[in-house]
Point group: C2
Chain length 656, copies 2
């Protein structure tokens, strides 16, 4: 197989301690075995030496211990050192595995001085969503084809193992192996046609503390069974699911559960039968419950047949409107998976008001590592700072301090079925992620779910050191940290989003979605642009708790980066910077391109310090990013120049 090892590429150490080569394993289990195997492999690659594995405590060595009472949370661990004795204590087998990966990370980055450490994974559920299809394609994939499937067969090779190790090393504990859009063949994943091979994946995942989930087709009873409906209140439909699920657990006792996209973008769902999403989710959840399975139900439900003439209907309102009334009606093993914003993974959105609204429902925050709207792994866009802002957003659900982070880590409502899910950005490209630098997002997502208090730049530094070496960290980290802001500058301004090429979502098309059915409008005319989402407009701001409701509804207090999301604003309105809106648009678009040029110069300065293939792959993408940024700049500026007639205050070139 031809693939890189990403952040698990252990390089020989300049020096090492002899006691690292003794591992005292004082517990057992299949995940412990994985931890031992991982440690052994790392030592072999870093020191060239074999490992002495013993099962009694070692005064000169690394001790692995289990202590179920260690911490109150799940899968916590501590790492300590005393003289020549190291101790990695796990609250569970997974805790030991995480402790080993942490210890190895400290060795590799030369930060053993941080010991002792004590960590408990912050998010109970740390999920990867694969949008892989069984034909081998990946929806919104920018890194090659699927490494799970090809031509409707399930693959089994060393890449799967490497992938599993990578996921475990960053703390992932649940993986959904197929696209939320479940097509015909994927519907059969929960049948004997594929179950034995799914079990093979599940067994491998389990060895690394990971549960396997599948996306299911809500209409499966119609496609797999003899049903002419899939009404969730039809007892025969429910019975079919119970039987089907029982068989899944018969084959795969540790099966995690289902992820469902229903009544969304053409997918079937309970609305067809005038049932609620609670009806739909609970019916499936009850089939899973006897086996401890979990049902994850996506809230990405909106009318994708909107009329652009209609200025009252607002897609931003849809998730809240569809789900808030169901709060408290979902079974205990149901989780709602809520996208970070009310639209769809734009470069800038407000946080979904469902996080401030739902109180009696398990919630997962969904983000997208795959750079669908953020440069498609051609343009550099390190997403941790965005996710950081989202987690830090105070919903005021239970008074000040009710941040998204505290909701999804379970502390606000005492939930245990909560956490984060992310659409992953991997594929079968040699480097897994198209751009080598895009792996920082993959890595960073896992690290953040394990420990959201880690700042984005600390994670960037960690990833850079592990992947590209500490020599380039000083240049790479600021490059990553600035990239989201740069991308935002040259694309759509101030939270309005959607000025992208329809369907592909790469490159500018200012009116591309403006007269379409997707509910994604900028409403630009000759005087200004933006969507009025105040009570005078669509009323979306009312979905927030105070103070946001008031703050967002007033253009004077609305955070400026979201100004056009919430308000129609005249081109000649003056922003906090003292610039007019139109001048702000011109300026940021010129700046964005300049920043890409600076970024490229920075990368080029590192040529001698980087592996040639990595340098070239990334450099080639950066050239494409520059072309893209220039096209964005010129199209956005020309579009608004033609509409506004406003000259650039600095007299730069704006095409007529």
């Amino acid at each position: 197989m031809n693939f890189s090892k990403c952040w698990l590429d252990y390089k020989p150490l300049a020096e090492y301690e002899q006691e690292w080569l003794t591992l005292a394993v004082q517990c057992e289990g299949k995940i412990v075995s994985s931890a031992v195997r991982e440690y052994k492999l790392a030592m072999k690659e870093m020191t060239g030496k074999g490992l002495d594995v013993i099962n009694t405590p070692a005064e000169q060595g690394v001790n692995l211990k289990l202590d179920a009472e260690l911490v109150s949370g799940q899968d916590g661990y501590t790492i300590s050192v005393s003289g020549e004795k190291y101790e990695i204590t796990g609250q569970s087998e997974s805790g030991i595995l995480y402790g080993v990966f942490h210890f190895l990370r400290l060795i590799r980055t030369g930060h053993l001085e941080e010991l002792p450490v004590a960590n408990t994974p912050e998010m109970p559920l740390r999920i990867m969503n694969h949008w892989d299809n069984m034909d081998g394609s990946i929806e919104r994939g920018y890194s090659g084809e699927s490494f799970f499937y090809k031509d409707y067969e399930i693959l089994w090779d060393e890449r799967i193992e490497q992938y599993t190790r990578m996921m475990a090393s960053i703390g992932i504990n649940a993986i959904v192996i197929n696209n939320v859009n479940v097509h015909e063949k994927e519907t059969y994943l929960i049948t004997d046609r594929y179950l034995q091979q799914v079990k093979q994946y599940s067994d491998l995942f389990n060895q690394y503390g990971i549960s396997l989930y599948t996306s299911v087709n809500f209409a499966a009873p119609m496609e797999l069974g003899d049903f002419d409906n899939c009404d969730p209140l039809n007892p025969d439909v429910a019975a079919w699911w119970k039987k089907t699920v029982a068989h899944v657990y018969e084959v795969i006792p540790n099966f995690g559960g289902f992820l469902v996209k229903a009544d969304s973008e053409g997918r079937p769902g309970p609305f067809t039968y005038d049932r609620t999403h609670a009806d739909g989710a609970n019916m499936l959840a009850r089939a899973l419950a006897p086996f401890g399975g979990t049902l994850i139900w996506r809230c990405f439900v909106y009318n994708c047949g909107q009329d652009w003439r209609d200025k009252k209907t607002d897609r931003a309102r849809a998730a809240y409107d569809n789900f808030i009334g169901l709060d408290g009606q979902f079974d205990d093993n149901v989780i709602l998976q809520i996208k970070n914003g009310p639209m769809d993974f734009q470069v800038r959105e407000p946080v979904s008001p469902l996080f401030g609204g739902l109180k009696k429902t398990n919630m997962i925050l969904e983000v997208e590592i795959a750079q669908e709207y953020t440069g498609q792994q051609i343009d550099l866009c390190y997403l941790l700072p965005m996710w950081r802002e989202i987690l830090d957003f105070d919903t005021y659900a239970e008074g000040e301090g009710s941040t998204v982070q505290k909701i999804v880590n379970g502390s606000v409502y005492g939930q245990t079925l909560c956490g984060m899910a992310a659409v992953i950005n991997t594929g079968n490209d040699f480097n897994w992620t198209g751009s080598d630098l895009a792996a920082a997002n993959t890595y960073g997502y896992g690290r953040m779910t394990m420990n959201p208090s880690l700042s984005s730049d600390v994670i960037a530094r960690e990833w850079t050191e592990l992947t590209l070496g500490s020599e380039v960290e000083q240049e790479i980290v600021p490059m990553l940290m600035k990239s989201w802001s740069t991308y935002e500058k040259y694309t759509s301004p101030l939270g309005i989003g959607w000025m992208v090429t329809p369907h592909y979502h790469y490159g500018p098309d200012i009116d591309g979605y403006e007269y379409d059915r997707w509910g994604t409008y900028h409403r630009a005319d000759r005087d200004g642009l933006g969507v009025d989402r105040t009570p005078a407009g669509t009323g979306y701001t009312d979905q927030y708790n105070e103070p946001w409701r008031t703050v967002y509804a007033d253009p004077e207090t609305c955070p400026e980066e979201l100004l056009l999301f919430f308000h129609y604003v005249r081109y000649d309105a003056v922003l906090k910077s003292g610039k007019t809106l139109i001048q702000h648009i011109y300026d940021t678009h010129f700046e964005g391109v300049e920043e890409v040029e600076e970024m490229i110069a920075r990368w080029e300065s590192l040529q001698d310090k980087l592996a040639e293939d990595v340098y070239e792959r990334v450099h080639e993408r950066m050239e494409r990013q520059l072309a893209n940024a220039r096209e964005w700049r010129d199209r956005v500026n020309t579009y608004f120049y033609r509409k506004s007639g406003a000259e650039d205050a600095q007299g730069r070139k704006i095409y007529e």
Copy 2:
């Protein structure tokens, strides 16, 4: 096979003359045999009687005679009647066939009082271009799949024969059987892989006086041979073509020749080798010449990688700029095939200035029956009035009266290799043309090439009587006659074109091509829109002879329907109607929709007089047309309202 007979659907006659049932055939040949067969079939279906075929003159009967001296042109015929004796005299076998079809038409429409008639086909070449691909798809096909090919096999069934009869009945004498975009498999059409089956087609066509042509891949020597180039001045390349062509004629002695799209939209061509189109065309023509073959070379050559920022480059200039300097350099058996306008089959374009420019080059006028930009056989758009205007356009090439018609019928320059070619609108739909009414364009195209002096409404009446019956003619003919104008009203205004959904070319997308690479811009800003093609702009108007050069360059004299094609015009400019430009845009778009509504009412009034399946098929399309027209109206009006800020003088609903 499941297909309709279109205009060859012979209905029983209420009454007939006994002498029609005697056919005196005083000549012979395979086309004469076809004429006899056609006449016999028609009589059988119209009278239910068998035909008495004799080979001596009949005083009571229909006499078929050959007279090579009958007329000076090609394939002329006369039909006369004297007492009970009819005489159809052909200047050739094809002339007899055309005469028989004409005679049958007069019988069917009850217009025998028009006898005697004498006709000579006006256009020497009356060509159909099929954009059929061998996988069975049809580029810009809106009537099902190909009836020539399926899954890379050549089909052979009764549909082919019906098709051939239909073509002959309207005077077609040349058919290009594959798409001008020649893909990999189609490259093999001129090889033994397919030649025997192509010959089968050719033999059938020949029986009806039709020559078979193929589109060829200019890079065939590289794909079929061992060449690393296809440089037309490479003697080995030329030798390869000579050998290949010789083999084609060995198998198909009556093979017509080749059609070539080179250096266009990604197709290979002589430009790659710094050769001219004359180099390319002549090389191929010289391979065909020994066998009497003809080489048709398309002039649709332009830069499809244009930068929207560039306001000097003008796609409209491209064909003229690329070919005018080559006038006189083409071999005698080369014909340039010139699209009617300088862009690409828009609903309104000026006539290509090549028709006024080229003087020493054989020319064919290319039109598109397939309604790519004119409603895709969903929207009704009878194209004869457009073609009529094009043919009547006076190029002033050799002084006043040098109309396009006279250029392509050979009378201006005494050419014999000239005429018209059309991209056909057929497919394997039951009714051949998607909408039953779209067949009026297929039929009308042939009739017009035979006799361009026939007016569009006469042809419409003929087609209606033959296809739908004379009872509905009073309603259908005006419906057809108005349809182009209606379509133009609700789509892009005053000649600017291109406001369509990219790639698909159906439905509105005002900015869809505006920032793209295709050279198709409207340049709308907050003050006005249109492209300055005067000497102050792109200079395109200079490609015309006087007086057009001056007339087009001045917005005061420029024909208003082309105003925005030639000029950037302010929204508040006053048109000849006294309305401002913006008001004109609003008004025509409201009118267009109203006219569609009236058209539907008219169609509905005919329900009892039409076959149910025809009525329903067309009605369903008209409903889609109405939705399309409304979408066009609203998007165009809103787009220009947002840009101009101008209120509708009549206060109608324009969405903001």
